[in-house]
């Protein structure tokens, strides 16, 4: 009987368990997690913060699902992994042997090294415990400062605003999420936030958090400006939790390096999700994807391989749907360039692939809050951002993923006043007919 051990109760871990059980019903599965709440929807925390969802709705699995899959759950922290003897040591002293191990420890929020960062009232949004703490604090707070770029920072801003907290949003750079969004897109988001009453500070860095009786009372910016507040929320990026793997001697760069079988540099140890640095066949490099969809996919592939079914993870084009200032936004393929001063490394809901931009030209169309931006290489669309109306989101996902040749229409699309949305729709409908005709 094979002994499987999975570290981490996020979506990668759960997906791996489903994959293992689809092939091996008798194997022994142990799930170890230090999160007391087990498996819940981390992206759902944003909607828990805004009050759209209650805490009890964050749990995707029916209660009997894990017992049905015959999983033993241990709430503990793993102290050491010993690849030689195939053994784990838990912090409570228990030693646990394994035949196949999966590390799905995820990532945690990067800590700010600002003086005062350990005061009560300084928050991050990593897990359910953090979300609970924010909601508790928000009940008796009047104003908050939010620091950072990317999706999580915005989720914090929106969550706090929904709870009637006066929100000051600090951006180090001159606009929001500059390594993925272009200037207009950033401005659309910022404008909508301002309409909601959020005060945005550009070129503003946190200098110091000032406390009174151990609690946040104000912040001082690096330029010396004083902003009084009861809370400081920080989302400046995430760090894959690689300490265990590093100590065990696995090959680790920023994440655990894995093959396309999700195998680490040790034979019986696999990794998936935010902690894994996966091979991207497009660029030949190993990249970080801190996205829910790929984590699930990777977990499944790892699980299949662990159970002896050879399976390959073919990294798909980077893809995410999110809500930015109440505007549904889909990001596909490669869309941006450069660095974001607000982020150190990668943010939650982010993919490094979005920024590997070869020579490309962007074509755009926008009408009020609906906006479409395409990034085109010579003959193909390599990326797209769709804000607002999502009608073209699925078609574009296919056109990018299937590298459909657009050379016949490219010039027309790039004309300054071209009605891009209509042209893309026409092209897609034509392509779909021809494609459908080719594949009976």
């Amino acid at each position: 009987m094979v002994r499987y051990v999975i570290i981490g109760s996020g979506v990668a871990g759960i997906s791996a368990i489903e994959a293992i059980r689809s092939r091996d019903y008798s194997g022994d599965i142990t799930l170890i997690s230090d999160d007391p709440f087990g498996y819940y929807s981390r992206p759902g925390l944003a909607y828990y913060l805004t009050g759209e969802l209650g805490e009890q709705h964050l749990y995707p699995l029916p209660q009997q699902r894990l017992p049905e899959l015959r999983v033993r759950i241990l709430q503990a922290r793993v102290a050491h992994i010993q690849p030689g003897p195939h053994c784990l040591e838990l912090d409570n002293g228990i030693r646990l042997p394994y035949d196949r191990l999966m590390i799905a420890t995820g990532a945690s929020a990067a800590r700010a090294d600002t003086p005062g960062a350990d005061l009560a009232g300084v928050v991050k949004l990593d897990n359910l415990e953090d979300a609970r703490y924010i909601i508790k604090l928000a009940r008796k707070s009047r104003s908050a400062v939010v620091v950072g770029g990317g999706i999580t920072a915005l989720e914090l801003v929106e969550g706090l605003r929904a709870r009637k907290i006066r929100t000051h949003y600090f951006l180090r750079g001159e606009r929001y999420w500059s390594n993925v969004l272009d200037e207009t897109e950033s401005r659309i988001v910022e404008h909508r936030l301002k309409e909601e009453g959020v005060q945005i500070y550009y070129h503003t860095e946190l200098g110091e958090i000032l406390g009174r009786n151990g609690r946040v009372a104000a912040v001082r910016t690096k330029a010396g400006r004083l902003v009084s507040c009861d809370m400081v929320a920080i989302a400046i990026g995430i760090r894959p939790r690689t300490a265990l793997a590093k100590e065990a001697g696995l090959q680790v760069e920023r994440g655990i390096i894995v093959t396309e079988h999700m195998q680490s540099s040790e034979a019986d140890i696999y990794a998936a999700g935010d902690v894994a640095q996966v091979y991207d066949p497009l660029t030949g490099k190993h990249v970080l994807d801190s996205l829910w969809g790929p984590a699930r996919e990777q977990g499944y592939v790892a699980g299949q391989n662990m159970a002896g079914q050879a399976s390959t993870y073919l990294k798909p084009i980077a893809f995410n749907v999110t809500r930015l200032a109440n505007l549904t936004t889909t990001i596909i393929g490669t869309v941006g360039r450069g660095d974001d001063e607000d982020l150190f490394g990668i943010a939650r809901g982010d993919s490094e692939v979005w920024r590997q931009l070869p020579d490309a030209i962007a074509a755009q169309a926008d009408f009020e809050v609906n906006r479409l931006r395409l990034v085109m290489a010579n003959n193909t669309i390599i990326g797209a951002i769709i804000m607002g109306d999502q009608t073209l989101s699925r078609p574009l996902q296919q056109l990018v993923a299937k590298k459909v040749d657009i050379s016949t229409v490219r010039e027309r699309w790039l004309k300054p006043d071209a009605p891009l949305a209509e042209l893309v729709t026409d092209f897609y409908l034509q392509w779909r007919q021809s494609d459908a005709a080719r594949q009976p």
Partner: protein, 93 residues
Amino acid sequence: MKLKNLLRQEHTRRQALAEGYVVPDSSRCVQCGICSYYCPINIDVRRHAWEGVPVKDSHCLTCGECVARCPRGVLQFERTHLFSPQRIAAIGA
């Protein structure tokens, strides 16, 4: 509103009820649970999205609440073609 328009509207609504069902796109779903939470008859729409299967539950009212509430555009109505004229003709009904 003229009676004719009112009837037409009612016809469209009934047509949607009869011919549409909710289809998820799993790749967009993050299992937040808003769909299941807002379903007036407690269908676990989220589970359907995880498994990538349409909501063919015979109790589904096709009220569209889950489709409208999902923050990531996971759900959409698709035609079942169950009662399409071609199909009816094909089975000789």
